[in-house]
Symmetry: C2
Subunit: 441 residues, 2 copies
């Protein structure tokens, strides 16, 4: 019987191996991205896994017809590597042979090989399997990989355990009408708005846990910052002495992520022309103080005492940038009335909670805080809110059978990507966004 081992015999080299192969004849594979006809020769730019590769076609050397190298064809190019510090990868390939592996069936309805796509967001999203092939466009998602990876790596190093919790759930964690309903073998169930209940349960098992997974919000908002399905980066930690430990952990995560991006995603940062923010420490202000600060600094009247208006978040971040040179600012002690039933109230003033948001360049990217761990306290808060604890039996087991003081947060992967890259719309930071009208591709 035949046997399989893990050794794939490679016949092609990678883009970052070109330079070391200077002078040799090698093969690379890629997709024809752009052909630029010059006088007497042509540049054939291939799109490889993570970067472009410059090839030079000259009729004297190449044993193929330039016309066969159509945009979108998947090819194996054989040629001689010639080093040149001015080109990408420090080397180009002088084409000898080309093997065509596949070809598009139709010509492209949009131009993808310009530096930046020159199409509307809607067209971009309509043609997502094609528009993402733009070198600039896909860099967004390589960087997004780094963000999620940094989140996980940092927490693993801090003794957190990764968990996988269900998305089909018996009750919503965030309450309200913003929940998708589902017929589940004749029973009405829901799509998880967050892993909140489950990560709290898991604090009772592993003390510190995290998850990066989709969450679903049936919000009818059609704004540049809302998605109906997004990737939530969640953690929850037990045995906290104070809810600031959660913000300290998030500060550590952000520093780790930006260091990782600098170390391993430099190619994409350059392409996107962004620099990682320098984080030493992050300023922190109480909700009501922030309200008053904005009112005073920007000569505004406070009209809503329970929440920020989007403009206030923007102004607070402007202030943070000006006063502290920080792109980030923590806002703590949000009003109890605006926080979920599991939020721990501040003993010093129970109208406010031991909770926080993290704002980044004008937008909330994280909500977190300490949770109630005492069963009777949780039960009483649910009763005060007119909730029926019997509907939450499964959740309340965690309090009933004992749980240490704990808290955590959820951060939107797409929002963090969006603000870091300075994108105008969160849809641009999502591979296949879902909004109230879009479920395709």
């Amino acid at each position: 019987m035949q046997r399989i081992n893990e050794n794939i015999s490679r016949t092609t080299v990678e883009a970052d191996e070109l330079l070391e192969n200077t002078g040799r004849v090698i093969k690379v594979h890629g997709v024809v991205y752009r052909v630029r006809q010059m006088s007497g020769f042509a540049f054939v730019i291939l799109r490889a896994k993570r970067c472009l590769i410059q090839c030079v076609y000259s009729p004297e050397k190449a044993q193929c017809d330039l016309d066969t190298l159509t945009e979108g064809a998947a090819v194996i190019v054989e040629g001689e590597v010639v080093s040149d510090p001015k080109v990408i990868n420090g080397a180009e390939i002088h084409i000898l042979h080309v093997e065509i592996l596949s070809r598009p069936a139709e010509s492209f309805p949009i131009v993808i090989n310009k530096k930046k796509l020159d199409i509307s967001l809607d067209t971009n999203l309509d043609y997502r399997p094609l528009s993402l092939r733009n070198d600039h466009e896909r860099a967004i998602f390589k960087i997004q990989e780094g963000i999620a990876r940094g989140f996980r790596e940092y927490l693993l190093k801090q003794g957190f355990t990764e968990i996988h919790t269900p998305k089909i759930v018996f009750a919503g964690a965030e309450g309200g009408a913003n929940i998708f309903r589902l017929d589940y073998f004749g029973k009405e169930v829901f799509l998880a708005q967050s892993p909140q209940f489950y990560k709290q349960m898991m604090v009772g098992i592993f003390e510190r846990v995290f998850e990066t997974a989709p969450v679903f919000r049936a919000e009818k908002h059609d704004t540049s910052r809302h998605l109906n399905e997004y990737t939530s980066m969640d953690f929850e930690m037990g045995f906290i002495r104070d809810f600031t430990e959660i913000m300290q952990t998030e500060t550590g995560i952000l520093k780790y992520i930006f260091r990782l991006l600098n170390d391993e995603y430099g190619r994409e940062l350059t392409l996107m022309n962004v620099k990682t923010p320098v984080i030493d420490s992050i300023p922190v202000v109480k909700f009501m103080e922030a309200k008053e600060l904005i009112a005073k600094q920007y000569n505004r009247k406070i009209t809503d005492y329970l929440d920020f208006e989007p403009e206030e978040e923007q102004l607070l971040c402007d202030y943070s940038k000006k006063a502290f040179n920080s792109d980030f600012i923590f806002v703590t002690h949000y009003p109890s009335a605006k926080r979920p039933f599991y939020a721990m109230d501040d003993a010093a003033d129970p109208n406010y909670t031991l909770s926080f948001d993290l704002l980044y360049n004008g937008l909330e990217i994280t909500t977190g805080g300490q949770r109630i761990h005492d069963y009777h306290q949780q039960d009483a808060k649910m009763e005060r809110r007119g909730m029926n604890p019997d509907d939450f039996q499964a959740y309340l087991m965690l309090h009933k059978y004992g749980i240490p003081p704990h808290g955590g947060l959820g951060a939107g992967l797409e929002r963090l990507t969006m603000k870091f890259l300075g994108l105008a719309n969160v849809r641009s930071a999502c591979l296949f966004p879902r909004d109230t009208v879009r479920v395709t591709p």
Copy 2:
């Protein structure tokens, strides 16, 4: 304004730091797991993040009452570290002070501090937030963390990009009735049965991609190996010369995972009393040859020429173990009729596909194969199957605009965990399983 940095001032030490603190007075935190009254003293076993910690209570030394150390209480113990090679962590703590942080509100309905839980699976699942606190039970999920982590780490090293694709989708990838339907702002949509369409689209972007995320199957099977929601580990790779490259990559993944488990999850492997399988290479057999082999070896008649019966998968694995000393066996060339519309048929015999399953100790844990990359070929196969290509416009963009030869696989995280640990039911390998009757906790 106050500022937050990432430095949490630690007041307690971790279990694996005990030994180096021999002779010192330190603090640890944990949950009281078991109290064993001896003559004149007591053992107080704490459950920490990842292991147990042995503390010794003696009325002479301890400035607290033993009665306050009730099971399930979250505590900070202060005491002197005494080394002892016979106890876990190589050291125990002689209690001086105890601070109680929280207590259960009710006594436990099940006994969790025995070596193994002595309750039915149903009771275990009903009380999941509690039953998972059993030291043996939670080890399953620490090992599961390692499996998912190994999958990701190996693929990142091989130049794969991690992607996050939508779970609310316009069409099912696996076809059939086994799909959950959802009202999405007045439109009927579905829950993703797999990331199939999206990972294929993403081959066009990054050449090699992977995802670990939930998938949803509305199967009505009530068996020991089916879940209606599970975590699928998926990858898809472009520019393959042959579909064996996919099996080679999976072999590499498995070897990496088991090495990682040995290196970093030894504590849990010991607790579960399992050894990682030795994988050098994995035997591979064609579907029809496997059918004939089983018929001959075990004196059976072939009745179903399109699929395996569960017993046949078991027998084939028994044979693989006996003949090749391998817990794994690849079966290739499944009948076209039983594979999805995107499976690439074998040019040598189009009744069979360039596809495979991986069987592990009697159970299929992976399905994979090469996909059709040519638009006209895909279109024709859909027509032959009576499908309307117009319903799959978004998916077919990937073929229309060109895609290299490619393939990939999906592996169930829970099934792999189950078979590795020798669990009898896949529900035991899922934190909060969903089956046709269970959506709680």
